[in-house]
């Protein structure tokens, strides 16, 4: 990217997804195409950070499969395997138009980023106008707080604080997460914020929420605040992107099946890949 060192506030963007994109919707590219459409570059450079999953091959392959034949320059950055790339991190990160962060353990994600100094580089990239996108842990990390299952049971966790408020994800797909978030907001451990269903993405320009979009009919979001110790909830209806694919493709059932498939893959120890 050859832009200025500091972008105007309205040219800085974060796109936070409650679940969806290539990692969860292999047959529905609406959210990922929306991400590509956020930048002006004719052939955007898009960097995938699979840190939160431990750089699983399944996730990296899904990223490649989604972006390989789209008009962009995709690459991924591993913080576990050196590979052939020995470019300094700063050079890699600041050369991008889009940085796309995958899901997994938010606790590990932030700790590993900090150990490499990547947290500061990502904030610098944002200030320069690189779009920061992500799902699940890769969405919550930009906020003041979120809900992680990094230690087993869901519990509140602090984020990078680039955006005000808190975020919780998979509001429809992982039912145990939402109550932990609501309890955290009610108790004042987490600031008020948004709960996003799978397939829903919230776009921020600067620090202001601008658009709420979805890849699936029926998916929604909640805005929740604690006022005098009581939770005040508003249901938010996202705008549905494009035309939904025929039949159940991209629907919840398939997403759940896909998630189960990925989990089986990750469990790996009974798998055939060793």
């Amino acid at each position: 990217m050859s832009g200025p060192d500091v972008a105007a506030m309205e040219d800085r963007a974060v796109f936070a997804m409650g679940g969806g994109g290539f990692a969860m919707e292999p047959t529905n590219a609406l959210l990922d195409d929306f991400v590509l459409g956020l930048v002006r570059a004719k052939q955007p450079r898009i960097l995938f950070l699979p840190t939160a999953s431990g750089d699983t091959n399944a996730e990296i392959n899904a990223f490649r499969a989604r972006f390989a034949d789209r008009i962009c320059v995709p690459e991924h950055l591993s913080l576990f395997r050196l590979g052939d790339a020995r470019r300094p991190l700063r050079e890699t990160v600041l050369a991008q138009d889009i940085i796309y962060v995958g899901g997994g353990s938010m606790r590990n994600l932030l700790a590993i980023w900090r150990a490499h100094g990547l947290d500061r580089l990502l904030l610098e990239a944002w200030r320069r106008g690189t779009v920061l996108a992500g799902l699940s842990a890769g969405a919550m990390c930009w906020f003041e707080g979120g809900v992680t299952c990094s230690s087993g049971r869901p519990g509140p966790i602090e984020g990078l604080g680039l955006l005000e408020g808190s975020l919780t994800v998979h509001a429809d797909g992982e039912p145990e997460r939402l109550p932990a978030w609501l309890a955290g907001v009610r108790a004042g451990i987490l600031p008020g914020g948004w709960a996003l269903d799978d397939g829903v993405g919230l776009l921020f320009r600067g620090r202001r929420p601008e658009r709420l979009v979805s890849s699936r009919p029926g998916a929604a979001a909640l805005r929740v605040d604690a006022i005098a110790g009581e939770l005040v909830r508003h249901r938010l209806e996202p705008e549905l992107l494009g035309a939904a694919p025929d039949g159940p493709l991209g629907g919840l059932d398939e997403a759940v099946q896909e998630l189960r498939r990925v989990r089986l893959l990750r469990q790996g120890i009974t798998g055939e890949r060793g």
Partner: protein
């Protein structure tokens, strides 16, 4: 877990001093790579009570240990740390409090071992090459030295380590691929290897740069010079009988 040799694994299992030792694998530095975990079970489950601890799949019941990490680790005879990125590993460990648990395990006498990142982590300082230039990494500090692995893998590695030690990194040990440093307490007790003709080195700052001293390694294979590894530091302070922390740090290409 070298692809072509089990000599170092056999050696480290002998240190556990148990017929059927409890061995826990920490694959954190590889991002808990599935194929590495599989390799561990293939190698160790026939002889050991083998388990692994995943810091990435704690919500998914993936067959690893999910609940009381500390109790599980402190019940082991041997903790085997896999290779990969030492910086990522230490970051994740600290976020889960594993650094403190591993110190406790060491004080309790549990044998700690590992190749590559699994060697570097036990030392006060380590030389890491990841994403560009070499960096100085602060390890857990159980061993009050610096460490450099894959010493023979690239010509630049030795020069870099010399430069860092010359510039104020503490004195330490470098190991070629296939060579393991066996410490008891904080003294180096044996140097062993799975390959004939491989060496370790002691590198210390000197008035004019560094002094490098070659340390012979006892080959553990059949044509080996000595069935028992020679004691290197007979005058060194062995750990007290009730308190025998040991770290076995080896180096070899990461088989991930």
């Amino acid at each position: 877990m070298e692809k072509d040799s089990s000599l170092l694994d056999d050696y480290v299992l002998s240190l556990a001093g148990q017929a059927h030792p409890r061995v826990c694998f920490l694959p954190t530095a590889s991002g808990d790579a599935d194929h590495y975990v599989v390799r561990f079970y293939r190698r160790f489950s026939p002889e050991c009570e083998a388990s692994h601890l995943s810091l990435f799949r704690r919500d998914q019941g993936a067959g690893g240990i999910e609940n009381d990490l500390e109790a599980h680790l402190l019940a082991q005879h041997l903790i085997y740390v896999g290779g990969g990125s030492v910086v990522s590993m230490l970051g994740a460990w600290r976020a889960h409090g594993l650094d403190a648990v591993l110190r406790k395990a060491w004080r309790k006498g549990i044998v700690l071992c590992g190749p590559s990142a699994g060697s570097l982590c036990w030392f006060r300082e380590a030389l890491s090459e990841f994403h560009g230039s070499s960096t100085r990494v602060r390890g857990l500090g159980l061993l009050p030295y610096s460490n450099c692995v894959h010493y023979d893998a690239e010509p630049a590695r030795r020069a870099e380590y010399h430069r860092f030690v010359g510039d104020g990194m503490r004195a330490g040990f470098a190991a070629e691929d296939g060579v393991a440093l066996h410490f008891r307490g904080s003294s180096l007790e044996h140097v062993v290897s799975s390959r004939p003709g491989a060496f370790a080195y002691r590198v210390e700052p000197a008035e004019d740069g560094v002094v490098e001293t070659r340390l012979d390694a006892a080959f553990l294979g059949p044509e080996g010079a000595a069935p028992d590894p020679p004691a290197l530091a007979p005058g060194g302070a062995p750990a007290s009988p009730a308190f025998a922390p040991a770290a076995f740090a080896c180096t070899r290409p990461l088989a991930v």
